[in-house]
């Protein structure tokens, strides 16, 4: 069923970082977007403020879903006693959050079914985040297959589609795509340990990928850093 809007609805997972902001602007070309963010006492609460600003500009609705603080424990992103690494590690990073994208997509599926939306967008990337199992194309495909057996809409014939438009792009390509679509990257926060003003640390994995991406894309970096 179509909403009153001319565009069909889609659910877009929006962290407030560079990647998910680009996904939102991509999705907004064709869909009326419901942005979904999660509050799980993550270190980078300034990302959530960024998500609010981005949703106001590019989405028609923003849902902030509270996750049980105890559930996603056990990684450097939620456990303040684990130090965020300043150099890339071998294998799966300490910033990996157990089954996080499964939990995020499960909630997106609920929001999609209630809103009568068949399309879910997620900004996973298999290039920079090759160490995260749930950023791989095979995970996204398996989640989509499961989703198409999970819901009333699917049983009644709808096809749920999980879109991961950044999955094979480099950070520079993602930035170029965002620039093409008029995305204001100054609204985004990527840093794992940004301060309360949203200023980035400049040294964590996420900051280093982001900074290198702007350099490679030949685009001025609008990020505000705590130190350079």
């Amino acid at each position: 069923m179509m909403s009153q809007s001319a565009k069909p609805k889609a659910v877009v997972l929006l962290s407030g970082g560079l990647d998910s902001a680009t996904v939102l602007t991509i999705a907004a070309q064709q869909y009326d977007c419901i942005a979904v963010s999660f509050d799980y006492h993550q270190r980078h609460a300034s990302e959530l403020n960024a998500a609010r600003r981005l949703a106001q500009r590019y989405a028609s609705e923003h849902r902030v879903i509270h996750l049980d603080a105890g559930v996603l424990a056990g990684s450097a992103l939620t456990d303040h006693t684990i130090k965020v690494p300043e150099q890339s590690e071998e294998g799966i990073p300490v910033t990996y959050v157990p089954a996080r994208n499964t939990v995020f997509l499960a909630h997106a599926l609920v929001v999609a079914e209630v809103a009568d939306a068949n399309d879910i967008f997620i900004g996973v990337n298999a290039v920079d985040y090759s160490g995260y199992p749930d950023c791989r194309p095979e995970f996204i495909e398996a989640f989509q297959a499961m989703a198409n057996l999970a819901t009333r809409a699917a049983v009644e014939g709808a096809q749920v589609r999980i879109h991961a438009p950044l999955i094979t792009l480099s950070k520079a390509d993602i930035i170029r795509r965002g620039v093409e679509l008029g995305l204001d990257f100054g609204l985004t926060v990527s840093c794992y340990q940004a301060d309360e003003q949203g200023r980035a640390c400049g040294v964590c994995d996420s900051c280093r990928f982001r900074r290198a991406g702007f350099e490679q894309a030949g685009v001025a970096d609008p990020t505000r850093y705590q130190r350079r």
Copy 2:
């Protein structure tokens, strides 16, 4: 990695109803069980009290995970303005909660990965609840396939198994199995609209399946009813 206990760990989804209590006693035969329950402002909060009593007796640990009250909205189980039906409906029941088992299993997967458990138990049943898409064997299989691509443990070679030991059993068979294993069904609450004392309404789908099950199993029904 094995825990200090002689048995391997498993995560068991425990609502406090008859089915999940039976699953817990089945799992406890072979596993050291972490029971997981959800608090999502469901009508039958007395079920959660039942879950606590059951976990104390049959599990080594009980995690109650709070879900965002707004997320699982839109069904008779969470929306108090929709009347719980007193007769079975055609098709998918009004008590269907969008993508509920996907959200429940996603959280169970997080708990399992953090606890180093590879086995997850869920009390879905495709006989009495044939109208629920996420109670079918094909859904459980698809979730398991997805889970085996989602986690660090899976990437490192572990096999996640989703066990649904009741999936093809009748309610009478489930009750007989519980009796065999010494389960005290008086601890369980199945009713969609039990009162604060845990007394069942006797007329909702869940009560009618349960009552008929005890009759067919030839087992005395320990349920306390508000009316008969």
